[in-house]
Amino acid sequence: MSSSEVGIIGYGSAAYEKKPSQALFGYLGEAGRNALASAGVAKKEVDGLAIDATNTPDTAVTFAEYFGFGTTWSQSGSSGGTGALLSVARAVKAVEDGHAKYVLCIGGGAQDVAAFHQRVTRFNTAIADYLMPHGFGGMPGLFAIIQRKHMERFGTSREQLGRIAVDERANARLNEAALLRGPMTLDDYLNAKPIAEPLGLFDCVMPCSGAEAILVGPLDRVPKGKGVRLLGHRERNNHPMGEVAPVSGGWELFRDELFNLAGRSHGDMDFMQCYDDFPIMAAIQIEDLGFCRKGEIGGFLERNRMTHDGTFPLNTGGGQLSCGQAGGSAGLLGMVEATRQLRGEGGARQVKDAKRGIVSGFGMISYGHGLAAAAAILERT
């Protein structure tokens, strides 16, 4: 089977909630059921399972037991915000290689803000042993240091970065699934209470509960225009080595290779869905993936609108900043929104004639920064 024949054939989400009303299993199952329904594939046809879930001892194999799948391929993701994106890419390869025919990739989490804070205290060894004892302020403390460095080195301003949060909120107002849908102006953003300066409240994602799912299988299973090809993907971990608070994250090392692999250019992208745990990281992904040069994001954000109908549609469903960060679902949020857009099912927030786009992931925050970077280029059939 050639690679062009396997891709994304379905997607689905579980309703997000500020406080969990069900266990993790419930969210994962709800998203998975919706993904199968969007493809018209029956549960009994699924023979592959990839799970990227947070705060659970369970794996893709024990989830198979719980959900009643007999699988011939499984993967338990672990790379935080890149894991679920990479699970989809690996699932495509697995189907191409004949290990499974239909792989359901689900990411999710059941948590509220308090549960997330508990998780952060022991996020990994470096954080538990060398940052918690300093009162590092959780993830905002680390990204505040990175943002200040970017601001002081390149002249980037909060007014410029705030455009990401404000335009994403405008997108979220057209997405009934987003948890944060109230209007937000740049003044609201700038005057929000400080969390870890220079970060304010609207720079920080809200941990919540929910799940996202993608179904991978033969593209001819769904009508033309309802399948999505993965033209290429790349990842890079632990870059730049030895730096504590870098203003780049590794996407810059593979971006040329990624676009070459996909045979597409930056100008071909109709949207970008990035990992926006903080606006500064969305900004760094835009720079590192080459939509503007390093250090020039400020002017780029001033020249562009990031709304679904803007010049640079970004996180067209509102991103994590407005939808909420539902643990392991965050790594799939962009992939699911990209699929929705490429199938022309974006509703009020549909990017006009969206043919292709780029999705990027980021995660595994450790001693000062996130260690994992990934991106994929997708195109509709």
Binding site: H117, V120, T121, T125, A126, A128, D129, Y130, L131, M132, P133, H134, G135, F136, G137, G138, P140, G141, L142, A144, I145, I146, R148, K149, E152, K193, P194, I195, A196, E197, P198, L199, M241, G242, E243, V244, A245, Y367, G368
Partner: protein, 139 residues
């Protein structure tokens, strides 16, 4: 708030790899790892040099003097022990003798700290309440 009423800060897990750091800090001193084979300066503590994978990591005394590269003033904490002390400062500190780390910085005027501010180790006896080497702004 007096010391008796203060919540204890979260503590690092003591391991063979970090025990010399913690023991030195209890004496008010800073020791850090350097690879005896490739000379890499390593932080946080490890069993192996992350540059060349040599197990020969030696502990070296540091002056504890350095410069703030970037920093944040933290207003919201995830651990209650720090909540009474806002705003607290967390900084990327470049030590004069080569190591790079994130650490808490104390300052009588937190608003006066900037990138480029010089820092030094908090001395005993005040140092004793901090679980890891902690700095103060040279004011």
């Amino acid at each position: 708030m007096n010391d008796a009423a203060r919540l204890e800060y979260p503590q690092p897990t003591r391991t063979p790899a970090n025990a010399p750091l913690l023991d030195a800090w209890a004496r008010g001193e800073l020791v850090l790892q350097q690879c005896e084979e490739c000379a890499a300066k390593v932080f946080f503590p490890r069993e192996l040099c992350p540059a060349c994978w040599s197990p020969r990591l030696a502990w070296k005394a540091s002056s504890g003097r350095g410069t703030v590269v970037s920093f944040t003033r933290i207003h919201r904490h995830i651990h209650a022990a720090f909540a009474a002390e806002v705003p607290s400062l967390l900084a990327e500190v470049q030590l004069d003798d080569g190591w790079l780390m994130l650490a808490r910085v104390l300052a009588t005027k937190p608003d006066a700290v900037a990138s480029g501010t010089r820092v030094e180790l908090v001395p005993l006896p005040e140092a004793a309440r901090f679980p890891l080497p902690t700095f103060r702004a040279v004011e």
